[in-house]
Symmetry: none
Subunit: 213 residues, 4 copies
DNA sequence: AATGAATGAGGATTCATTCAT
DNA sequence: TATGAATGAATCCTCATTCAT
C-alpha cells in the first residue's frame, strides 16, 4: 500500500474537520442572517462551496446542521463577557460597569441579536438547542457572575442572599432600554455614550440592591 | 321597509366582521403555535373553515393577515397588566408587587409567550409590526407605569429622576428567572409560590432603588 | 300597475344597452391593453364599475364577453380607411397613396395593433371571432378597394385581371417595413415622413403593377 | 483511466444536453399548440417526462424556458427559405418563384404559423424575444434576399434603388391571400396549385417592379 | 468521499364562475 | 336586476432529501 498517495488518518480527520468547519461557516453566515426557515440547504451548499451531497454526508438533515451550528456559535458569543468577570483587582462597581458594558455591546452585535431571535423563535421546535445555547451563553455568564458575587460577598463587599438570582437580575438590567428596544427593531440611541450610561446605571442599581451599605 | 328579508347594514357588517374574525381566530391558533413561516395559508383556510379564495378576499397576502392578527392580539395581551396600575389606594410596594405578578403571569401565558417569540423573530421582516406590538403592549405598559411613578414621586413616596427608565427597569426585573427561562423552554418552577416570590423581590428591589429613604 | 315608477321597455332596453356598453367599454380598455389571458373578469368589473354578478348577467362567460367586444371594436377600426376609397374625383395614384397612408396610420394605432395581436394569437381558440374580425375589418377594406379597382379598370385607368387579389396585394404592401416591424416591437422610424414614403412607394408600386400602360 | 465506469465529459454534457433537449421538445409541443399563457409548467414537465423540479434546474422560470425555446426554434424555421436564395445559375424570375414558394410553404407549416402567432402576441411582454426571432427568421431572410437583389442589380438583371426595401416588399407579397388568411383561420385554398399560383404572381410582380426594362 | 441531477410535495397566490341576498 | 362573498382548481415556483455516478 502506497501511503504517500493516501492521506493518513490525521490528514483525513483534518480534512474532515476542515470541510465540516467550512460548511458550518457557510451555514453561520446564512442562518444568522435569514433565520432557520429562511435558509435553504442549497444556499448553504453554495455559500460553503460544497455540493448538496457533501452537506448530507456531514449532517443528516437541516435540523442537525442548524443544531451543530448553534452549538458552535453559542460557545463563543458571550465568552468575552464572562471572562472579564475574573478581574479581582477592581472595586465592585467598576467591574460590574465593565461587565455590563461588555454584555450590552455583545448583545447588540448583529450575530448575537440574530442568535437570540432564532433561539427564542425556534425554542419550541428545538428545545435541546435552546438548552445548549443557554448553558453555553447565558448560563455560564450567570454562574460565573454568581461565583464572583459570592466571592465579593465573602469579602464583605456585597450582601447577597441568592447570588444566582442577583446575577440574573444584573443581566436583565443590562438589557433595559437599548438591548430590549433593539430586539424590537425600534429606533433607539445605540451610541457609545448611551451604552455607557445604561452600564453605569445598571452597575449603580446593582450596588444599591446588593452593596454593603 | 321590510327588514325581515333584507339584511340591515349592521347585519352585513356583522357578517363581514364575523367572517373576518373567524379567519383571524383560525390564524391566531396557527400563527401562535407554529410561527409565521411555519404556518401556511392552506392551513389557515382549513382551520378557519373557509376557502383559500375567501382568505384572500379579506386579506391581500399572508403578511397582511399576519399583521392584522398581531395588531388585534397585541392590543389585548397586556391590558390587564397596565390597567391594574391605576389603583391609587394602595402603598407603592403592594401595587408594584401586584403589577409584577400580573406581568409575570401574562408573559407566561402560551399566547403571550408565542407572541413574544414571533415578534422578536420576525421584527427584521416586519419592523412596522414590531413597532405596533411595542406600542400596544410593552410601550403602553411602560408609559402607564412611568406616569404612576411620576405621580408617586410627586407625592413624595418615590425619588426618581427618569420615571420611564425606572419603569423599563421594573419590567425587565419582572422577567428575571421564570419568564426568561421559560422563553428558552428551560425547566423552571412556574408555581404560584415561585411567581409570587419573583414578584415580591421585584417590588422590593424597585423600592430599594427608587423608594423615598 | 303603476307604470310611472317602472321603466318602460324602451327605458329598460336603453338601460340594458347602456350598461352593456359600459361593460364593453371597460372590457375594451383592458383586453386591448393586456390581451385575453392577461385580463381578468374582476378587472373588467372594476373598470366598468359594475359587480361581477352583473357582468355574468350580460355575458355568459369570459369568452363571450371577449367575442362581443371584438365584434364591436372590429367594426370601427378600419372604417376610416375604406370610407376614403370612394373619392372618385382624384387620380388613381393620389387616391391610393391616401388610402395607403390611412391604412398605415390606422394599423399603427395602439388599439389596432393590439387587436391584430390578439386576433392572430387567439384565432385558434376563437375561429369564429377571427372570421368576424376579418369580415368587418380587412375583408370589407379589401372588397371596397376591389370594387374601386374594378371601377377604375372599367374606366381604363387600370388593367387588372383579379381586382380582389390586387387589393390584397395593395394592403400587404402597405404593411411593408413600418407596420410589420412595429408588430415585432422592433425599433423603426414611425415619423410622418417615413409613413408618407412607404405610402407613396406602395401607391407607385401598385400603379406599376396595375396601371394602364 | 477506466473509461467504462466513469462517464466522459462528453457523456455528461450529452446527458445534460439530452435532458435539456427533452424538455425543450416537450415545451415546443405545448407552447406551439397552446401559446405562452395557455401552457403550464406542470404540463411541460409531464409532456417532457421530467419532474417540475428538474424543469427548474434547467430553466430559471417559465419566461426563460419559453425564450430558450423560441430561440432554438426560430433559428431553423426559415433556413430552407433563405438558403435556396444562393442559387446563381437560374434566371431571376425562376429563383424568386422558388423562394416565394418555399416561403409560403414554410409559413403555412403549423409550427411556423404558431410561432408567428405567439411572437406577435407576446412581443410586448418579450421584446427581446421578438427581436431575436426577427433576426434569426425574417431578418436573415430579408438581408439574404437583399444581397441577392443587389448582386443581380450589379449584373444588370434588376434595377433597384433600395434592395432591402425591395426584399421586404417581396416577402410581404408572399403572404398575400393564403398565408394572411390562414393566420386568421379563414378557409382558403392551400392546395399545391394555389400556392404555386401565388408564388408565380409574386415573382412576376417583383419582376415588374424591379426588373431591367 | 464527493457530486449535482432528479424528485414531488408543498408554498403563496389568482381567477372564472356561482349563488344567496 | 344587481350585488359581491365564496369557492377550489390551477397557477408558478421552492426546497429538503435521495441516489446513481
Amino acid at each position: 500500500m502506497n501511503t504517500s498517495t493516501l492521506p493518513s488518518d490525521q490528514t483525513l480527520n483534518a480534512a474532515c474537520t476542515a470541510k465540516r468547519q467550512q460548511i458550518l461557516d457557510g451555514a453561520a453566515t446564512l442562518f444568522l442572517h435569514n433565520g432557520y426557515e429562511g435558509t435553504s440547504m442549497s444556499q448553504v451548499a453554495r455559500e460553503a462551496g460544497v455540493s448538496k451531497g457533501t452537506l448530507y454526508n456531514y449532517f443528516d438533515c437541516k435540523a442537525q446542521l442548524f443544531s451543530a451550528l448553534i452549538e458552535a456559535v453559542a460557545e463563543t458569543k458571550l465568552r468575552n463577557v464572562y471572562e472579564r468577570i475574573h478581574s479581582d483587582d477592581l472595586d465592585c462597581a467598576t467591574t460590574l460597569q465593565r461587565v455590563a458594558e461588555a454584555m450590552i455591546r455583545t448583545l447588540l452585535q448583529p450575530d448575537s441579536m440574530m442568535l437570540y431571535r432564532i433561539i427564542v423563535a425556534e425554542a419550541r421546535k428545538f428545545p435541546l438547542l435552546a438548552d445548549i445555547f443557554w448553558q453555553r451563553a447565558f448560563g455560564v455568564s450567570i454562574s460565573t457572575l454568581a461565583d464572583w458575587i459570592a466571592n465579593r460577598a465573602a469579602r464583605g463587599e456585597l450582601v447577597v442572599d441568592d447570588p444566582v438570582f442577583a446575577a440574573e437580575q444584573f443581566f436583565m438590567l443590562c438589557q433595559t432600554r437599548i438591548v430590549q428596544r433593539h430586539r424590537f427593531e425600534l429606533p433607539v440611541d445605540k451610541s457609545d455614550a448611551a451604552i455607557k450610561t445604561v452600564a453605569r446605571i445598571t452597575s449603580e442599581s446593582f450596588m444599591k440592591l446588593n452593596g454593603a451599605h
